[in-house]
């Protein structure tokens, strides 16, 4: 699909917003003048919510300015309510035919301040995608699937719907050397070529056909069974590899989500600890104390298992006394040389004096043999067990843990008796929610790690089995060259996928650098690399601190432009902190996009708006 053009975004009821953003016709950009707190951010976030989450997964997934999850219904309205967002756009297919699309998400529910984690009590979410004015329609998750495949909105909505929040996220990723991995993960997601998987599947299909053909030529039943088995095993192997790759991807996604939640947790924790409200300060004080006690209990419990060898003790003296008694009362002989006895019996001569053994001597030696224990048995009986007393007193530890838990419960009761303001309570509730999420994700990560390891082992076993089956089957020999070539091609494709990723990073790096140069001037450039992340360059010197706030904001813009997969760009408060580069940024946007939709504050039009559109449209939040 090409030449995409958004014509309408209409919001009715979500978070109390009511307005319609009607865009200028194709070939023209549009600027909407919207004052503070009139729905700019909500519009961007609603688009992200709609295009990220299918109908069945959308409940409690709306986020608003780092509040996760945030309410999406109108929290000022009592009783049942229905909210609606409509997005209309056109696009041209490969045959040059224009199509019209209308996406609509309707949410029914009620706002209840006592409901957690948000005040939303959502009864129903319904998605509809109407194509070509009613010629076709997709409902529910199918609507999302269609948009995902035809436009890849789910992959790039964060970038073509751009705002200060996203810019700050990118700035944080590019400024923090510890977050290079997260940034490159985003780029790799963008760089994954969907065709690669398709080619791999085709090659696997080809392999099946080769095996079928080989099977058809086989007259022996045993060989036919072998080929059938081989085919089944190869199928298992491919399925397992796919499963493993999916698990690996899930692992990376969860690790990333964990980092995001941990960052958010730190932020919330900081907000709470630096709060001025006396109640919150006191609550925080108790919370810190409780956390301290909890950590102490956990550490003690871990130590109990870590020191498990010290649980074991015994009455060493008694044992040694028993050993001595058994030796003494049983008159256990001192160790004999077993080899000497056996040699005597074997040779028929005394190994000490050399005389030949008569019958009586032989019988005596045989009797001796029955008394003989192997050397290590004698050794066991002869030494004293070393003193071993348990260095660990479990009763003492138990009493100490009990004391700490009781102390903790007392502090918790005190903490619960503190009445918090609504705002502070929300902060605490969010922190608890984030904490819970962190624990859940950590659990999932452990399971995923284990599952990946398990799959790797199965794959190894299956590969060995496949190879064995291939070698066993003589009929397959004539097809072996083809099968080997198929394997080789699959390896090449996988390798190519990795190379494409690396090349894409280079291309994205080049695009970002050109964007930066066109806005900030020839002295500036940018560099994106898997090892160093995203950096701004000035006179050929690159660094994470170069360019100041406005420079890095522009770097974020250019990163988003390079990452998006659709042409139109929808921006909330586009030039708020850009400073003297406003005109350059406007010029850059005009030159690089067929459609620009800006939601501007009345104060940010000067030196910027007229370059994009001569007729800004004022928008007010009005309930129809």
């Amino acid at each position: 699909m090409d030449d995409m053009h958004f014509s309408l975004i209409k919001v009715a009821g979500y978070r109390g917003r009511h307005f319609a953003l009607k865009m200028n016709p194709p070939g023209q950009n549009t600027i909407f003048i919207m004052d503070g707190n009139t729905g700019k951010t909500t519009t961007i976030e609603l688009l992200r919510w709609c295009f990220h989450y299918p109908e069945s997964q959308a409940a409690n997934k709306f986020t608003h300015m780092w509040v996760v999850p945030a309410h999406v219904l109108d929290d000022t309205k009592k009783g049942p309510q229905t909210c609606e967002i409509t997005v209309q756009f056109t696009a041209i297919d490969d045959e040059g035919k224009e199509h019209f699309y209308q996406f609509k998400r309707i949410t029914e529910g009620e706002s209840d301040p006592n409901n957690k984690p948000t005040s939303d009590k959502i009864a129903k979410i319904s998605d509809t995608l109407e194509i070509d004015h009613g010629k076709d329609a997709k409902h529910g998750d199918e609507a999302h699937e269609y948009l995902k495949h035809a436009f890849r909105f789910n992959e790039c909505v964060d970038y073509f719907c751009f705002d200060g929040e996203k810019a700050r996220d990118i700035m944080q990723l590019s400024s923090n050397s510890e977050k290079i991995g997260d940034l490159i993960f985003l780029v790799n997601q963008r760089a994954t070529h969907p065709r690669i998987e398709e080619y791999k599947q085709k090659l696997n299909g080809l392999r099946n056909r080769v095996l079928e053909e080989a099977g058809a030529k086989v007259s022996s039943q045993a060989l036919a069974i072998n080929i059938g088995k081989l085919k089944a095993r190869i199928g298992d192997l491919r399925a397992l590899e796919k499963e493993r790759d999916q698990l690996k991807q899930d692992f990376t996604t969860h690790s990333l989500a964990l980092k995001t939640f941990e960052d958010r947790y730190k932020e919330l924790q900081e907000k709470i600890t630096t709060a001025k409200a006396q109640e919150l300060v006191e609550r925080t004080k108790y919370e810190i104390q409780i956390q301290g006690k909890t950590n102490e209990v956990m550490e003690k419990r871990r130590l109990i298992y870590a020191l498990n060898s010290q649980w074991i003790g015994t009455n060493t003296n008694s044992i040694n006394w028993i050993k001595a008694q058994v030796k003494e009362k049983g008159k256990l002989p001192e160790p004999y040389r077993q080899d000497l006895i056996q040699n005597c019996l074997a040779s028929g001569c005394c190994e000490i004096c050399g005389r030949a053994l008569d019958r009586a001597s032989e019988e005596r030696i045989k009797g001796l043999e029955r008394q003989v224990a192997p050397h290590e048995v004698h050794e066991f009986l002869s030494y004293d067990l070393k003193e071993r007393q348990p260095a660990f007193d479990p009763e003492k530890e138990r009493r100490e843990i009990k004391r700490l838990i009781e102390e903790c419960n007392r502090l918790e009761n005190k903490m619960k008796s503190i009445k918090l303001s609504e705002e502070d309570a929300q902060l605490i509730s969010e922190k608890e929610f984030v904490e819970q999420e962190i624990n859940t994700i950590k659990g999932k990560i452990i399971n995923l790690q284990r599952d990946v390891k398990e799959r790797e082992e199965w794959i190894k076993d299956l590969k060995e089995e496949v190879e064995k089956l291939q070698n066993q089957n003589t009929t397959l020999k004539e097809y072996k060259i083809i099968l080997d070539k198929i394997d080789e091609s699959i390896d090449i494709i996988v390798d190519a996928g990795e190379k494409i990723k690396s090349k894409t990073i280079d291309i994205i790096s080049g695009v970002i650098s050109e964007g930066v140069q066109s806005i900030l001037g020839r002295r500036f450039s940018a560099k994106l690399s898997p090892t160093e992340g995203l950096m701004l360059g000035e006179d050929g010197f690159f660094g994470r601190e170069r360019g100041g706030y406005s420079g890095r904001l522009i770097l974020s813009y250019c990163f988003a432009e390079a990452m998006t997969l659709v042409d139109p760009i929808i921006v909330d408060t586009p030039s708020g902190n850009i400073g003297s580069q406003r005109a350059n940024l406007a010029q850059h946007l005009v030159e690089n996009h067929r459609q620009i939709l800006l939601m501007c504050l009345p104060t940010e039009i000067a030196d910027f708006g007229p370059i994009i559109s001569k007729k800004p449209i004022p928008i007010a939040n009005k309930e129809c």
Binding site: A324, P374, I401
Partner: protein
């Protein structure tokens, strides 16, 4: 040197515990284990602990007429030195054997007594016997459900679920106390009656 090398049969719950312990060489990478059972230093540790608990609890001798016992369907592969542990267990088992077979002066046939004692000790000194018979035998004992609660091994596996609670019979502190109590009972039943409390006496004899 007493090295366990090869597969050991383990109950399902114990396998879960073993899996959650990071390999010894990766321990440094895990600054803080996520769970309590992950704090065991080596994967073999909970196996040995449960083996010992099984011995304490059952106060039974392991079968010596078998090369292998089939008790569990899960296996875990080990290659680890357990010399110190085996030495102590062997002494416990020696005392238990003496308790069940008496001291030599009670035996009419001293030769037979010696033969049986030697054969028993010889078994105990064989790492393969430990791996295929002794450890699974006592693990099965530690895996037996107890009155009013689940088995020691199950509770050990469940100790990760314990929150800030006191009266929980699967908490690490409770299990350590239960282990200590079983240990004392074993010593009081199987060692002290044979040798008296030799804390003082035997030292003086020496």
């Amino acid at each position: 040197m007493f090295r366990i090398k090869g597969n050991i049969q383990v109950p399902d719950a114990l396998e879960e515990i073993i899996d959650s312990i990071p390999p010894f060489d990766e321990k440094s990478a895990h600054t803080e284990p996520l769970v309590y059972v992950g704090s065991f230093k080596q994967k073999i540790d909970p196996v040995l602990l449960c083996t010992l608990f099984g011995l304490y609890k059952s106060q039974e001798l392991p079968p010596t007429d078998k090369e292998e016992v089939a008790l569990f369907s899960k296996y875990h592969d080990f290659n680890v030195e357990i010399g110190g542990f085996a030495d102590m267990v062997n002494h416990f088992l020696f005392c238990l054997w003496v308790k069940k077979n008496g001291t030599p002066d009670k035996c009419a046939d001293i030769m037979k007594y010696r033969e049986e004692l030697y054969a028993f000790i010889k078994k105990l000194l064989d790492p393969d016997y430990y791996r295929t018979v002794l450890i699974p035998f006592y693990l099965a004992k530690a895996n037996e459900q107890e009155i009013g609660t689940s088995s020691f091994i199950h509770r050990l596996a469940g100790s990760d679920e314990v929150k800030m609670e006191i009266a929980k019979d699967s908490s690490p502190e409770f299990l350590a106390c239960e282990f200590a109590s079983a240990q004392n009972e074993f010593i009081n039943n199987c060692i002290i009656p044979l040798g008296g409390d030799q804390g003082e006496t035997y030292s003086k004899k020496q």
